[in-house]
Each structure stands twice: as C-alpha cells, then as structure tokens.
C-alpha cells in the first residue's frame, strides 16, 4: 500500500474505468449499451447500500423505497410541473435525504434484527403512500412520459442527451462521482469511525463518539445517493410503477452487492455486472431470475461471504505475496 504509484489496486481501477469509458465505442448494438446502462444504474444502488451496510454494518431493506422516492420525485416534478432535469435532480436528492433522515432517526436507534425489520416496514409504507397518492403518481397505473435530461448548450460534450451513448456517459459520470464520494468517506476520519462502530458500537460510545449521529449522517448520505440513482433511472427508462419502489429492488441490490463483495469499492460494479449479464443470457427463463438470485445469495454468504472481490483479493495475496504474513 505504501508504493501508491505501483499499487495493483490503483492500476486495476484505472484499467476498469478505462474499460467502462470505451464500452460504447466497442459495443455494436443498442442492446449492449442498454444492458451496460442498467448495470451502471444498479451499481449506484449497490454503492449506496454499501455505504450503510458494507461500511456501517446496518442492513437497510428500505433502499428500494428510497430509490423509488428519488425516481418518483423527479418523475412528478418533470411531468406534472415540467421542471427541468438539472433543477429537479438536486431537489429529488434533498427530498430523498429528508425521507432518509425521517426513517433513519427512529430506525437507527434499534440494533440487529430490529433495524432490518423496521426498514422493511418503512419500505412497505413508502410503496403504500406512492400507490395512494394517485393524483401525483398515477398509482398502480404507473407514471409515463418522464422526459430525459435536457442538453447543456454551452458544454460541447453535453449539449444533447437524446442518444443512448450520451446517456451512458452521463450516468457513468455520476457513478464515478459517487465512487469518489464513497472512497473519501471510507478513507476519512468519519469512515474509520463508521467501521469502528460496525465492529463494536459500545466501545465507540465509551470513548466519546456520538455513534447515533454518525449512523444517521451515513444513512442520509446513503439515501441521497440511492435517490439520485433513482432520478437517473427514471430519466432513462421514462416510466415508473410502484414496483420500482418495492422492497424487491432493495433485495436485488443486496444480492448484487453480496456477489460483488460487501464493503468493497469494486464489488459495487462487479456484482451487478455479473448478475445482470447472467439474467440477460437467461432471457428466455425470466421467471428463474428470482430463484437464482436467492440461491446465489445463500451460497455466497455460506461459502464466500466476502464476495467475488474478496475472493479475488484473497487469491491475489496467496499467489503473489505468499512470503509476507497477513493478519486475517
């Protein structure tokens, strides 16, 4: 880690980001790009879940609802009030943050299974509210005709977002920003407090850390990122139903994150990439997806709780650095 310039981690990140940037140039069909965009959008949700669950150790099942709140806030603002994407984007972020604060303050007082159950309950309530505010959200019929982002005329590379390729780069841009945010959270004093709270909350309290406040802040940041992911999702697909806010969305994100590696940066993209590619290959057998997701989750947690990223790191250390001693 000391030789930053030659660290394999940095090298892999650069190669990975480069690969993500050239995907639209090497992909031949619109379908490939569509799948790539879906992977990026799921990576955003995995990333937001990773902040609260991977680093903070709090398994939130409300993230499907928070994603849906962001998406619906943008959808309603754009279709009912014709508010521009670039104005609605921050508004939706703030709205999701406030909802996250309202959910986080009571839930984070609870520990272990209670937190998980209460967040699941909040997701059910959020969906019930979305379904019943039908004057705004069109209820179970779904909200249609949500516009994509408007181009920025004075920015030559962002002057038009009508093509799939430009949407890909827009979403990739935000994903990279989110990754940077996550990276800074992880490596800050705040992030270290967070990991310490995950390990032993009572001990942190006894040395004077306000653990509740740190957890609430983390939950709010995580909510905002989930909501912004929802905004990008809504602006890309153009149609929303209450199912987009259901707890199943959060469950899927949990599966993808577990496959990639809970608590890792690279896992937030590896997981969605692998699982979405598998489900696209099995296109004919779309019913099987839920079963495969459940099975993958069980098998991974039993045999490889660190996910693919963790397994790869382990192999790497075994193969190339066997002479050094590692503390597990």
């Amino acid at each position: 880690m000391s030789r930053v310039s030659l660290s394999p981690k940095i090298l892999f990140s650069i190669v990975g980001v480069f690969f993500l940037i050239i995907i639209p140039l090497i992909s031949t069909t619109g379908f490939v790009l569509h799948v790539a965009i879906l992977i990026l959008l799921w990576a955003m949700l995995c990333l937001s879940l990773n902040i609260i669950f991977g680093y903070g150790g709090q398994l939130s099942l409300a993230h499907g609802g928070l994603f849906g709140i962001g998406a619906y806030t943008y959808g309603v603002l754009a279709t009912k009030l014709s508010i521009d994407f670039w104005l609605a984007f921050p508004i939706a972020g703030v709205a999701t943050g406030i909802i996250g604060l309202l959910i986080g303050i009571p839930s984070l007082r609870l520990k272990g299974p209670y937190f998980v159950i209460v967040t699941l309950g909040f997701n059910i309530i959020l969906v019930a509210i979305i379904e019943n505010l039908s004057s705004l959200t069109e209820g179970v019929n779904g909200l249609t005709g949500i516009p994509g982002p408007r181009g920025i005329p004075w920015l030559f590379f962002a002057s038009d977002f009508s093509s799939k390729m430009s949407q890909y780069y827009l979403i990739l841009f935000f994903l990279l920003v989110f990754w940077l945010i996550m990276y800074f959270i992880k490596n800050s004093q705040f992030g270290r407090c967070l990991v310490a709270i995950k390990k032993d909350e009572d001990l942190c309290q006894s040395v004077g850390i306000n653990t509740m406040w740190i957890k609430v802040q983390t939950f709010v940041v995580s909510s905002i990122l989930a909501g912004l992911g929802g905004v990008l999702y809504a602006s890309y697909v153009g149609i929303l139903t209450p199912h987009d806010a259901s707890f199943h969305v959060g469950f899927d994100a949990l599966v993808y994150l577990s496959v990639g590696g809970i608590g890792t940066v690279v896992g937030t993209i590896i997981g969605p990439a692998i699982m979405i590619l598998i489900s696209e290959f099995l296109q004919a057998l779309v019913e099987i997806r839920l079963f495969i997701n459940g099975l993958a989750l069980i098998i991974l947690i039993i045999f490889m709780p660190q996910g693919i990223a963790g397994g790869f790191t382990y192999l790497w250390k075994k193969l190339f650095q066997s002479g050094e001693k590692y503390v597990a």
Partner: protein, 286 residues
C-alpha cells in the same frame, strides 16, 4: 351491532393466521436468534402445497392438511441444515441475509412451478354457520378452532414434555441450557421444523379462505414480526397476544379509516413499542 361482531370475527380469523406465523418466528428467534424473513413465504408455500394436492391431484382436504404439515416440516429440516447451520458461528448479519436468500429462493421456485397468478382452492366444508345474525363460513370457523387446538398442543409440548422443556430452557438462557447438556443442533432443527410446520398449518387453513398467490406472503410476515416485537422477541405468549391485537388494529382501521392508515398504524405501533418498550409490552426477556 351485528356488523361489529362480524368485524370481530374477521379479526379473529386473521389473528389466528398471524398467530401461527408469529409463533414460528418467535420460536426460531428464541432458539437460533435468526429473524426468519422467509416465514411468510413458508406460509405461502404451505398454501401452494394445499393447492397442488387438493386442486390438482384432488386429494381429500384432511389428508392434504396432514400432508402439508409433514411436507413443510421436512422443508424446514432441510432449510435449517443446509442454509442456517453453516452460518451459526458467523457474524449475526449473515444469517439475516441467508433468511432473505431463502425468501427469494422459495418465491422464485413457486413462480417457476405455479406462475404468479391467483389460484383458487375449493373449501371442503361449504356450510355457513349463522349465529344470531352473525354469519361465518365453515372454513373460517375451522381456521379459528384449528389454531386454538394447535396452540394448545404447542403449549402442552413446550411446558409438559422433556424435549419441549429443553426447547423452552434454551430460549430462556442459552448458556445455562448448553451447560446442562441440551443439544444445540437438535434444538435448532426441532425449532425450525415446528416453525415451518406451523407455517404449513397456517397455509393449509387459509388456502380455501383466500386466493393463493406469491405476494400473499409479505403482509402476514410483517404483521407477524410486529406481533412478535409487540409481545417481546422469543416470548410465545406475547406473540399470540400481539397477533390478535395487530389483527384487530388491521381490521378496524381498514374498515373505519383506510388501508394505508391501517398499514401505517400497525408499523407505527411496532416502532413505538421498539422505541419505548424494547423488550415487548409484556416486559419479558428481549
């Protein structure tokens, strides 16, 4: 007045189902400290077993009932052995995630085999009982009476038999029970088998009353959790009391207010209990 009694009867029917699901949750939590998120789906799976045996193979309902309980018990044995035992010594959150995986796998299997649409199971007993203007179908009466019978048997098993008492001892004080030689593996399997068996009973009783469909799992699961939390996690009597209170809240707030308010009321009660009486309203062990 008759309408009020009708609502009370509805609450009793729903409460019975929640009670069966919640007792299973409470039992497994007491022994294994796993919040079994798959419990609602096991209830749904039980209803599908009834649909398969009763409506497709056309076997007599009473045989189907017995078969469902046995099948679900076997399913519980397999799930405990293959999914939960390997993570017993891992961090707690792993078993939560495993439970979610089991939930998804069961729902996926059901959708693969039966599809996601509504199925109907014909009630075996079509008679309608009329009691001074309050009517109840035979099957609904069976739900209430069946639940009472099953709960009496369960209580008898736990309080009066040696195996049941070791189960109770383990949920009260794990370390002490281990010290006097209670077998953890055996107790975990037993708790899981009883819990899935209870979910099977609930599914078998409820299948002829309502439609059978994959999404029927979630609301009973969450209300059962609310009930278990209301009575205190791992406390069986509390879970039974909580189930009927939650069912009453649900039925009356849906009738006189609205369905959304009913959902919010139930989770509101749950969150309030967690924040102010974290060990449950009966104040038992947490």
């Amino acid at each position: 007045m008759a309408e009020l009694f009708q609502q009370i009867l509805n609450a009793l029917v729903l409460g019975s189902i929640y009670c069966l699901v919640a007792s299973g949750l409470s039992l497994v939590y007491g022994i294994m400290h796993v919040p079994n998120f798959a419990q609602g789906n096991l209830y749904m799976a039980g209803a599908y077993v009834v649909f398969f045996l009763g409506s497709i193979l056309r076997i007599n309902y009473w045989f189907v009932f017995m078969a469902t309980v046995i099948v679900m018990g076997a399913v519980g044995l397999i799930i405990e052995r293959l999914c939960f035992r390997p993570v017993r010594d891992a961090p707690h959150v792993n078993s939560f995630v495993i439970a979610l995986g089991v939930l998804m796998a069961i729902e996926g299997l059901i959708v693969i085999f039966f599809g996601a649409d509504y199925k109907e199971v014909r009630p075996p007993w079509k008679k309608i009982v009329d009691f001074y203007g309050v009517t109840i179908t035979g099957q609904r009466l069976l739900v209430i009476l069946g639940t009472v019978l099953v709960m009496i048997i369960l209580q008898f098993f736990i309080k009066r038999t040696k195996t049941g008492m070791s189960l109770d001892a383990m949920s009260q004080n794990r370390e002490l029970a281990l010290m006097v030689g209670v077998n953890v593996n055996r107790m975990s399997s037993l708790a899981f088998v009883i819990s899935t068996g209870l979910a099977g009973v609930a599914g078998a009783l409820m299948a002829p009353v309502s439609y059978v469909y994959p999404a029927m799992a979630m609301i009973p699961l969450l209300i059962a959790f609310a009930a278990v939390i209301f009575g205190g996690m791992g406390n069986l009597t509390g879970a039974i009391l909580g189930s009927f209170i939650m069912a009453g809240t649900q039925v009356f707030s849906t009738q006189y207010l609205s369905a959304v308010i009913s959902d919010i009321a139930i989770f509101g009660i749950m969150i309030a209990v967690l924040l102010f009486r974290p060990k449950g309203i009966l104040g038992g062990r947490g």
